[in-house]
């Protein structure tokens, strides 16, 4: 099966990535690679992962996201998970998932506001 297309959007000092609704494991792994590559290429300070269309967040997906958050942190960036659906939040909590040190926001707008306050002064947002 072909890897679903993931678009990495660079907005000033941050990256915005829209996670596809039902990604397979390879797509999720490819997403991590693309994030890290783009962090390096654009010297980004923040990352917003828009998961508003994601229907199923299982342990593999969560583990890869949590890892990515940590890798981005090592590269000096902050990550905001934006738009988790209520049904996904309920399920993830019952499953026992934790998302590491990710910041969270209801939507992308609020994620950008959050990064404005979380990132050091002088960041271009």
């Amino acid at each position: 099966m072909a890897i679903e297309n993931i678009s990495v959007l660079k907005l000033r000092d941050i990256l915005l990535i829209t996670v596809p609704p039902d990604p397979d494991d390879r797509t999720i792994s490819a997403l991590q690679d693309q994030v890290l590559e783009a962090m390096e290429r654009y010297e980004s300070r923040g990352l917003v992962l828009d998961i508003s269309t994601v229907q199923t967040l299982d342990s593999f997906f969560a583990r890869t996201i949590a890892e990515t958050v940590q890798m981005v942190a090592l590269m000096g960036g902050r990550t905001v998970l934006a738009g988790m659906r209520a049904s996904v939040a309920v399920t993830a909590t019952q499953l026992g998932l934790t998302m590491g040190k990710a910041l969270t926001a209801l939507d992308v707008d609020r994620a950008l506001d959050l990064l404005k306050t979380a990132l050091p002064r002088g960041s271009n947002l």
């Binding site: 494991d25 399920t91 019952q94 026992g96």
Partner: protein, 136 residues
Amino acid sequence: MSDTHQGEFRIGSESDIVAARRLIRNAATSLGFGITDVTRIVTAASELTRNIYQYAGSGLMRWHCLTEGVEVGLELTFEDSGPGIPDIVKAMESGFSTGKGFGLGLPGAKRLMDEMTIQSEVGKGTKVQTRKWLRR
């Protein structure tokens, strides 16, 4: 009963995890489960399908609609001829894993569903049967 409500699906590759999720999403949705229960059932199916792919390489997922009096439910069965689970009690502990996951697969799936039974024999295989009842 329509085909959506029962069927079987052979798991043999990583992309089958996504396919299994879609089948179970359709079955649960058409039985009338709400969005949160559908998400719980699909997530449990995803964990159990991945277990088969990861530990046994291949196996079979079956699903069918249950009726008990006025109660309606969905039963999922995951069967493989893989290495089996030496210690089921240990495998049901959160955080215990011999694989590369969080160790949430089996205990997590049990928390998301209403009933779950595991039969396993080392060298023979594993059968996990799980149910979710529709709340009216």
